[in-house]
Symmetry: C2
Subunit: 228 residues, 2 copies
Amino acid sequence: MDILMQSLRIGINDKLYIKDPESSKLGKKIVEESILLIEEVGFESFTFKKLGVRIKSNESSIYRYFENKHKLLLYLSSWYWGWVEYRMVFATNGISNPKEKLQKAIAILTQKVEEDNAFTHINEVVLHKIIINEYSKSYLVKEVSQENKEGYFVVFKRLVGRLSQMITAVDADYPYPLSLASTLLEGSLHQYFLQEHFPTLTNCNTSVNPTEFFTDMIFRTLNLNLND
Amino acid sequence: MDILMQSLRIGINDKLYIKDPESSKLGKKIVEESILLIEEVGFESFTFKKLGVRIKSNESSIYRYFENKHKLLLYLSSWYWGWVEYRMVFATNGISNPKEKLQKAIAILTQKVEEDNAFTHINEVVLHKIIINEYSKSYLVKEVSQENKEGYFVVFKRLVGRLSQMITAVDADYPYPLSLASTLLEGSLHQYFLQEHFPTLTNCNTSVNPTEFFTDMIFRTLNLNLND
DNA sequence: GCTAATATAATAGTATTACTATCGTTATTC
DNA sequence: GAATAACGATAGTAATACTATTATATTAGC
């Protein structure tokens, strides 16, 4: 990413934190290291106490930024989807041909994540792994409807909406653009998971990637031809 | 289901329990009521202590059947997928036309679940809800590879394999049968979830169901026509 | 119907988690 | 240089996720 973007910020619902972690050194450290620690030990075993030890700070200080680890996960997820949305909009912006535009969007949304130096304290590659393994846990909770009302999932919802519109732009008569869009986003994470842990349940591997599978699936579903 | 099936049992990996819950009244009660309690309070808030109170039995007695609630969830999931597999095999058994066979399989796998009186102590409708909300949590854990080696997911894997074969039977040249099969199973649960909690992210509702969406998607992907 | 074996209930206890509260110390700002 | 905000240290609580032990039922075999 360009040096021009150095001061870019991803907008996140301010109910997800008590004190904005972007506003201090400690806050950034909490975000940065929580990503690494969650990836290392898994979300279930992750605690603020352990994170405190790791960043040589106090448990109670972390609680001043985030109410609990669930909110932290929602924060990280919002950041991730905001970042993906930004890259998708940026990459598809100049494309006028709807088919090309959709193809580019699918690529961005299903690609393996590479490092992005525009955001120095966040390791996007590791964050992608967390999203693959933990994102579902942020919404598969009893409180989901209330949290949805609070706007904790707006970024993700906007992204599905955008993709859905691109599908409709290509084929206005296709009856399930939203379901296809949500299936792509969720399914892409799932295929990455399977590739790592259940290779017998997927055709994705070192030579075939989720982008190829989903591009093929969506293009066939919309009766488009890749090569014209 | 038929009265003939009254004594049917779903085969489950015996490492998932300490004492077979099918072998006693208390064991069956544990399974029966755990389904209802998990659905009521969600998996995170569910504890063996609460279950003990509910079934007027002791926490420690439940621990004699299941090591912990994670194993219980794996047990319930295996039961569910075994039950689905059984119904799928049963329903598609006599069909020789591969296209018809696939269509029937998709229907069974994506349908809304109705009560099945063959298994008196298990409420399949509620169990389906649990699978929608909690199944991911059974495999999105750090120990997944080890648990996979122990065979905790064989039933689900066999089901994906069967569906994949049916896809290949219809189109031997389709390059992603496994990914399409796993996307269908996972995606179907996801669409049900969205329908309930994020209606703006799906086209499934009271008049359109996941079966229609997925049948359409898979048939288009495989270049099949529904009506011939 | 009695005995032995097994299953279950009751109770107690431990380490860890997920916090909350308080207070002293260190930075920052005005 | 004083005021204010941020942070660290410590303590404490209720709940969780168990394990262990012992007492009491239940059942099975004879």
